[in-house]
């Protein structure tokens, strides 16, 4: 069908279904699991969230009833699969309130989204002496691609400092912006600290100087409403698997005029208009950036994940998660020798902590024996760990399906681990 994929303003997506965590938990089959003979307490959603049954079923149903390769087949299955897949693009457009469907590119995930921009934007717009700005709290996926392209283009990667609470130094950010700055690329929410960065202030400062901004939204999208037009961000990257969707698919949102100006990233079967050995011309957006058969089934599941998320009243979900965060922080703080890493005023989803004289790995191992899944280590943010002078942290990360008993189990587990290990 000829869908209208244009939209001026954000449509109200929040379905307004009252949020009830115990009902939500019923939707996630994996949460019924036992681990090491204990009830699973899953506090590693920052690494990857669990999936509701509707997502799992969507993927199966696709394979059982609908599968065909998309975009070039004239037969019914292919046409139907193409419509459904392009429908997911439209869902993602609404989800982010992007202006056009063709500003939504499907990628493998956040990492590929950022690599695409680094490689394609970088080869076009970065020249010797130019600068790219990231921050001290970035995930490696928002550092290494920039190091690689800066080295290739003889450009310079500059780093916005943070304070001990784990907040961006906005004055320093402003003073680092200069006429050589070609792009600012920072996390919307930090995966290691939980800090919510002031995205709109960042785009405002950068845009005063005509500098585009990329936000790494991997940890933001599962926890808050993201409106790319309201943020006025130029690129926005995230992964489906962290927001209740399948592994293997993610999004790069990019403003049309930037994407149009950028050369293609990968070459192949979907992204061409005409190929001869003399001269090849490329497709229009979004196809120019989508070479090869995409993760079709993962895309279908991703559509179901956005629908799942959108059925709830968003404010209630946020309130629930903030409650968990406060409830957990208050209790953990009281434990002797425990120190929270990341105490920003605005946080989402994540509590990181260290223990005096105890290695995070040991805490994680004991918690695992208790059925509590947390992440330990550097969380792919080694420069940040170096900043704090620690080898790593224990990180508990939350999703909407966590409840207060998960927090109680965590606190009891950490207490037990401390007793054993010290």
């Amino acid at each position: 069908m000829i869908g209208t994929t244009e939209a001026g303003q954000k449509e109200n997506l929040s379905g307004g279904k009252p949020f009830n965590v115990e009902e939500v938990r019923q939707d996630f089959p994996l949460l019924e699991r036992q681990v090491n003979g204990q009830r699973l307490v899953y506090l590693d959603s920052g690494a990857s969230s669990q999936k509701p049954r509707s997502v799992i079923d969507r993927v199966s149903h696709y394979y059982c009833r609908e599968h065909a390769n998309i975009h070039r087949g004239v037969h019914h299955l292919s046409q139907h699969a193409t419509e459904a897949y392009e429908g997911v693009r439209e869902t993602a457009r609404r989800f982010l309130n992007a202006g056009h469907g063709h500003e939504i590119l499907f990628t493998k995930g956040t990492t590929e989204s950022i690599n695409l921009v680094a490689s394609s934007f970088g080869r076009k717009f970065l020249n010797p002496g130019d600068e790219v700005l990231v921050s001290m709290m970035e995930h490696h996926s928002n550092i290494v691609p920039w190091q690689m392209i800066c080295q290739e283009r003889q450009a310079r990667l500059r780093v916005v400092p943070i304070n001990r609470a784990g907040e961006l130094d906005m004055d320093a950010l402003e003073s680092l912006l200069n006429e050589r700055t070609r792009l600012v690329s920072v996390a919307h929410v930090s995966n290691a600290l939980g800090t919510i960065n002031p995205a709109r202030d960042i785009t405002a400062l950068a845009h005063e100087r005509q500098i585009p901004v990329l936000l790494d939204g991997a940890q933001a999208v599962p926890h808050m409403h993201v409106d790319v037009q309201d943020l006025d961000v130029d690129f926005y990257a995230f992964s489906a698997h962290k927001m209740f969707g399948p592994t293997g698919v993610g999004v790069l949102y990019g403003k049309e005029e930037l994407l149009d100006a950028m050369p293609p990233y990968q070459g192949g079967g979907e992204m061409i208009e005409r190929v001869t050995f003399d001269r090849t011309t490329f497709s229009t957006l979004p196809y120019k950036f989508e070479a090869g058969t995409p993760s079709i089934a993962d895309g279908m599941g991703f559509g179901a994940a956005m629908a799942y998320y959108d059925q709830f009243d968003e404010q209630e979900v946020i309130a629930h998660e903030q409650d968990l965060l406060t409830y957990a922080t208050d209790q953990l703080c009281e434990l002797d020798g425990l120190k929270i890493i990341g105490t920003a005023a605005h946080k989402a989803g994540v509590i990181s902590f260290v223990f005096e004289d105890v290695h995070p790995f040991d805490v994680g191992t004991i918690l695992d024996q208790l059925g509590i899944a947390v992440r330990t280590g550097h969380h792919c943010a080694q420069p940040l760990m170096d900043f704090y002078g620690i080898p790593g942290t224990v990180r508990a990360s939350f999703a909407m399906y966590n409840n207060r008993s998960d927090v109680d189990a965590l606190v009891a587990g950490v207490r037990k681990a401390a007793r054993l290990l010290r």
Binding site: M1, G3, H71, R72, G73, S78, Q79, H80, E83
Partner: protein
């Protein structure tokens, strides 16, 4: 005097109502394609090509007496037949009417699959091109 676009569409829908088998419908479309006036070779130019079709489709437009006269061709006969239906509806209409028209008949006569965003199919681009040609004419006129 040409009928309004919607009246023509409704006429086509009524015509197709008599087919109860897809075969008859396609036989009719194929006949329309075969009987369509061939496009003058000199209009088979690069800029008249509709992009993104698996078959090649040329569309040529002229403004005569404030009406848009479309002529078209394709190397695929079914595409050509559907184009014939499209031109029945829009050719000879004022540019403004074309710009405003919603071409619902394609869906209603059961050719919805030809409107899929599947890029192997150029009908969507064909309609876009018709609309943009029309709006070019109304802006100019």
């Amino acid at each position: 005097m040409t009928l309004p676009i919607d009246a023509i569409q409704d006429g086509i829908i009524a015509d197709f109502g008599i087919f109860d088998q897809w075969m008859e419908k396609y036989e009719y479309i194929i006949d329309l394609g075969k009987n369509m006036q061939p496009l003058d070779e000199r209009y088979k130019r690069e800029e008249n090509l509709v992009p993104g079709c698996q078959s090649r489709v040329w569309l040529h437009a002229e403004l005569v007496d404030r009406k848009v006269i479309f002529t078209a061709d394709s190397d695929a006969i079914i595409t050509k037949g559907i184009i014939a239906l499209l031109l029945q509806t829009v050719s000879g209409q004022p540019p403004e009417a074309i710009g405003e028209a919603e071409l619902y008949f394609i869906d209603r006569i059961g050719l919805r699959e030809h409107l899929s965003p599947n890029r192997s199919n150029g009908l969507v681009n064909m309609i876009r091109k018709i609309k943009s040609v029309a709006s070019g004419f109304s802006a100019a006129g």
